[in-house]
């Protein structure tokens, strides 16, 4: 786990109530520096509410948090100097052109010199592929163009943290791909904290995730850890054996095997083995299966979960 100072966002027991309804329930969130952090949850899970608290747009009912070590309530303006934000359905100032809006946004941070301002604007327009539309009023932009402009606006001051609320939700597959590519390009410069319910995107670009459901944080951590499964590492194997009971007895004798299931399939047996010690599993499991010379291994894999599988399991488990 990263050192405490390596976390850009940290919240402690963050709670938000709206008219007696608890929208966010005691969330302890930790977003590591320079990560692309996917914030997952079904609609109404509380993702936008939590993001708004981080931005100082709404106040927590209880609990608190810090961004770059600054308090999210008392030092919100200081925090916002280092943040770029893309709202869920971006609406900007329609009468401005993309260039004017970028210039306006940049002037919240910098007053000049003019040539550097123009250079940065050109760079941002190029980043999101809007050079040709730079001087057109935003009211004529498509949804995808607005979304890409929103990313340019969020990034124009080179923030240390980008907060993107559903950056690809309203886009077609090409628009979505472009947004993900921009995010990947930006990762080396900044931390990206983004909410989404498009799980394929998360699995593709994120290195850490958190899952929120009904205001409660179900899990958070590096994506690989989560894809490996929350209840230990699982191996699956298909074997031909004359005595599956003996194989089961043999494998069950190892303390690092926490769960074992054998299911007969078409003259073979399918094993599902959960190990509590990753190293022991890697080094010894296959050897121990092959210990009985009559056993033939047809297939042996470490199980990789799909994020969707993990997500559905957790959200449904929580609802039960």
């Amino acid at each position: 786990m990263p050192d405490q100072t390596e976390y850009v966002i940290q919240t402690q027991a963050l709670v938000k109530n709206f008219a007696g309804v608890q929208a966010v329930k005691g969330v302890d969130l930790k977003v590591p520096k320079n990560s692309i952090f996917g914030f997952l949850g079904p609609n109404g899970a509380g993702k936008t509410t939590l993001m708004k608290m981080l931005l100082g747009l709404i106040r927590p009912t209880s609990g608190g948090g810090t961004i770059f070590g600054h308090d999210i309530v008392r030092e919100s303006v200081t925090i916002r100097e280092r943040i770029g934000y893309l709202p869920q359905q971006p609406r900007f100032i329609d009468h401005m052109t993309a260039r004017e809006l970028l210039e306006f946004t940049l002037h919240f941070y910098f007053k000049g010199p003019a040539n550097k301002i123009n250079q940065r604007i050109d760079e941002m327009l190029e980043l999101v592929g809007l050079e040709e539309k730079a001087n057109r009023p935003i009211k004529g932009f498509s949804g995808g163009e607005k979304q890409r402009l929103g990313i340019a606006l969020a990034q124009v001051n080179y923030p240390d943290l980008l907060i993107l609320d559903e950056p690809a939700a309203a886009l077609d597959p090409i628009g979505r791909m472009q947004v993900l590519q921009v995010m990947e390009r930006l990762q080396k410069h900044t931390t990206i904290f983004y909410s989404t319910h498009i799980l394929d995107d998360v699995q593709r670009v994120s290195d850490a995730v958190a899952i929120l459901n009904q205001g409660k944080l179900l899990v958070q951590g590096p994506i690989q850890e989560i894809l490996n499964g929350q209840n230990g590492i699982v191996y699956t194997s298909t074997v031909k054996t004359t005595d599956s009971a003996k194989l089961k007895q043999h494998l069950s004798s190892f303390p690092w095997i926490s769960h074992l299931a054998i299911q007969p399939t078409n003259g073979a047996a399918r094993l599902s083995i959960t190990v509590s010690d990753a190293e022991a599993g890697e080094k010894h499991l296959l050897r121990e299966i092959l210990r009985d010379e009559t056993t033939i291994v047809l297939e042996f894999n470490r199980k990789q979960y799909e994020l969707e599988e993990v997500f559905m399991e957790m959200v449904k488990g929580e609802e039960k």
């Binding site: 709404i58 303006v77 934000y85 971006p90 609406r91 900007f92 002037h107 007053k111």
Partner: protein
């Protein structure tokens, strides 16, 4: 990628962080779009046209049709000036108030409804800077379009009608009273925009005060001292030396100014703690 160290950072008081840039945005909303120019033309043509009609056309027609009546009223010049000043100051001030309400109505509500406010306030901006920039730019623009421009036309037309220039200082004092009256409704509408998320209650309260005020003030005379409702009688009194409708005369003017401050402070405080 170019570096942030190449830039000169914004030097602005932390108390009003973002104010200058927001002022630029609001100014752009008025003067880089058709809004400001359309209103400017509208508020040049309508009052000037109405005054030309009342100062020159109506007395001339009356002189031809009812010469005796015109003579009893002091002649064409006096008749024209009586009608012109009455309409410009008394009726005009109400219309300027209504326009102030209409032009200020959506300043905050529309940004709340369309979500622009989330994006704006996610920048390093103090919330008070957001409210004050709206008040500052819209007060200047509305007063310029709705009060200053028509007053300039009125001054020229009154001077042409009387044949001698009107004294400048009393005229400016009259325009000042009109500005206070208009500013009262701008600040009231802006404050209501902070408290409400829909336009309807804002419109009802602001126009209710403007139109219903005169009726209520007629019933409860004391309210005239602490509201701007009597100010429409003040401007002509200042310009033409007529008697003031209330004594001490200064009280409604001071009360209106205090209300403007109260509305502004209430808007800032409420917006500071609002959930956006």
């Amino acid at each position: 990628m170019s570096s942030n160290t190449d830039f000169q950072t914004v030097t602005e008081s932390a108390f009003l962080r973002g104010f200058q840039n927001l002022v630029r945005k609001e100014m752009g909303g008025w003067w880089k779009t058709r809004k400001g120019w359309v209103n400017l033309v509208l508020w040049s043509i309508i009052p000037a046209g109405l005054l030309i009609f009342l100062l020159f056309v109506v007395p001339a027609v009356a002189q031809v049709q009812r010469p005796l009546e015109v003579m009893e009223n002091g002649g064409v010049v006096t008749l024209g000036m009586t009608m012109g000043t009455s309409v410009f100051y008394e009726f005009g001030m109400q219309v300027f108030g209504i326009m102030a309400v209409i032009l200020s109505l959506d300043l905050i509500v529309s940004e709340k409804q369309n979500g622009t406010i989330h994006w704006l306030l996610s920048r390093p901006v103090q919330r008070r800077a957001y409210v004050l920039s709206k008040l500052w730019v819209n007060a200047i623009s509305i007063l310029a379009v709705v009060v200053v421009v028509p007053s300039v036309f009125a001054y020229i037309l009154f001077t042409i009608r009387t044949g001698t220039p009107l004294p400048v200082i009393p005229f400016l004092k009259g325009a000042g009273v009109m500005m206070v009256h208009t500013l009262f409704y701008i600040s009231l509408t802006l404050m209501l925009g902070v408290f409400f998320d829909q336009s309807a209650p804002i419109l009802a309260i602001a126009l209710g005060s403007l139109i219903g005020g005169m009726l209520i003030g007629g019933l409860v005379q004391r309210l005239m001292y602490i509201t701007p409702w009597a100010l429409s009688k003040y401007a002509p009194a200042l310009v033409f030396g007529n008697p003031f409708p209330l004594e001490p005369a200064i009280l409604p003017l001071v009360a209106s100014m205090i209300w403007i401050v109260i509305f502004t402070v209430a808007a800032v405080l409420r917006f500071d703690s609002a959930e956006i």
